[in-house]
């Protein structure tokens, strides 16, 4: 039986973020949080492996008080259990600290064959946690996976690189990160959402992992100094006309009058 730990992060719906017009800062307070898209596909990939090979899936997330609600979806889609690291003392730490905390959590869960995660989370785009965790655990990493299978305790995967598709093989345990193209995550049914609420969930703070939140925090290395959405003014003119030909003619005139076609 294969035991898979899937790393998931809850993030705000990026399309819902409003930009404060005076400060250009993103406003994320009060927005609903959901599992980051690529992470959800990592979970879907785990479920497909389980369906073929039998196994057990533990979802692991480092988050906040809001994480439990967001992660219900993971249990509804097919995770068997959920572990949340929730410690306000760890809010805002960098990828360096996040991966140390996740290492401790992964070791506490224990007995895993495979650790799956998304290539990056859609909010931070930092693409570090998978490789960092592999380094801290001394495991091989298989990144950017768009296809995978288990055969005799070995993972066979196709990695999506810029210039090649690389077919690779690795003995487990290993850390695997997936890309968006690996699958489409399933949508949970109402029944499965009901059942999800009954699945085992554990919540840990730093001390439950044998860590000091204060020390961890002090070890953080990257600080965000400023967040600012670049201001791009667009004309937002919607061309209205009776017929397609007329609309196209107006658009052609507009394009030409912008002078963007001169060499």
């Amino acid at each position: 039986m294969t035991k898979i730990i899937v790393l998931l992060k809850d993030i705000v719906d990026l399309n819902e973020i409003k930009i404060d017009p005076s400060t250009r800062q993103p406003r994320t307070e009060g927005l609903k949080r959901r599992i980051s898209d690529v992470d959800k596909r990592a979970l879907e990939a785990a479920i497909r492996l389980k369906e073929k090979n039998d196994g057990e899936i533990a979802a692991l997330s480092m988050g906040s008080d809001k994480t439990r609600t967001a992660m219900l979806e993971a249990l509804a889609i097919g995770a068997d259990s959920l572990y949340i690291v929730n410690d306000s003392g760890l809010a805002g730490v960098d990828a360096l600290v996040t991966s140390k905390v996740l290492k401790a959590a992964v070791e506490k869960i224990g007995g895993y064959d495979l650790i799956l995660c998304g290539e990056m989370t859609l909010d931070s785009l930092s693409a570090q946690v998978g490789p960092r965790l592999a380094e801290l655990l001394g495991l091989p990493q298989v990144t950017y996976v768009k296809q995978m299978d288990l055969e005799d305790g070995k993972l066979r995967a196709v990695r999506d690189l810029e210039d090649v598709d690389e077919v690779v093989e690795v003995e487990l345990p290993a850390v695997v990160s997936v890309v968006r193209e690996i699958n489409e995550a399933r949508i949970p049914s109402l029944m499965s959402i009901m059942r999800a609420k009954k699945k085992p969930t554990e919540e840990w703070d730093a001390s439950a992992l044998g860590l000091s939140a204060e020390e961890m925090r002090a070890g953080s290395s990257i600080e965000v100094v400023k967040l600012e959405a670049p201001l791009v003014e667009r004309k937002r003119i919607v061309i209205e006309a009776e017929t397609v030909e007329e609309a196209a003619a107006k658009l052609a005139d507009a394009i030409i009058s912008e002078g963007v076609m001169e060499a």
Binding site: A95, L125, P131, R132, D165, E166, V225, V238, L251, I255
Partner: protein, 319 residues
Amino acid sequence: MTGKTVVAYSEDRELGLQILSKGREISDKLGAKLNALVLGEKIIDPKEYITHGADRVLIVEDPALGSFAVETYRGVVLDALKDVDLEVLLIGATKRGKELAARVAAALDTGCMTECIEIDVDEEGRLLGERLTYGGSVISSQVSTRKPHIATIPPRTFKKAEPSPREGEISVLDVDIQDRRMKVVESREKARGDAGLAEAPIVVSAGRGFKDEADLKLLEELAETLGAKVGCSRPIAADLGWMEEWIGISGYKISPKLYIACGISGTIQHAAGIRDAQIIVSVNNQEGANIHEISDYSIVGDIYTVIPALTKALKERMK
């Protein structure tokens, strides 16, 4: 121990040279020496790194480095840099470069700023970086508070320097090559045409609104009329394979005078790639599509009728 050192590395030679030009600036501010780290089976023309700004080229040559494997490469990088007073390590943000940087940063117990579009150092010698977050909609200005400072730099972010007749040192290092556990069974070459998107003054672009690959000829006719290059959203390339390169946060970030988005919804990830376009035009049949919000001109309509009509209208006017 050497004196203060900035090291630049990319397995992509061109990107490596681009990083060197920025690395030179940073090194001068820090009073540090700039080293180019070059790994491979056989290194040709190492002097090129010197003429592009490096004070020293650190070379590791080994048959095992003929193809990139992160486990092997991480060990080599760590070993090659162990006697270096490392201030800053800049790595090219290819997919391989990003996984290498994260792994090396973890081994050195330090931070890493992914895909910086700008870097600098402050008075205290700390590395400052600007990078995109929130799907690409927000610029995050960050500071790396501890050395060694590590950042990855995407392709085409900085221009490589004009080569100049500089003097420098070339050191061939002897390092331990560790075994890798991930075995490469096969490497399937991808079709990779440089579509010329990066420099094109006009780009027309296809999204999932196109039902069939053959329908792209509508867009090609428009492109021909405008002298434009043809691009697309990520699913058109990555899911459907109709084209090779896409536009957006994970693809090409472009700054044409004119961008025409056809059947593209305008997600944050796509929008991040066209922010610097002078004029954005969109054709999308859905009134509420986000692409209309980020366009200068849009038509709420069917690409299958609007594009041919637009091509015709432009042709008439350009005679």
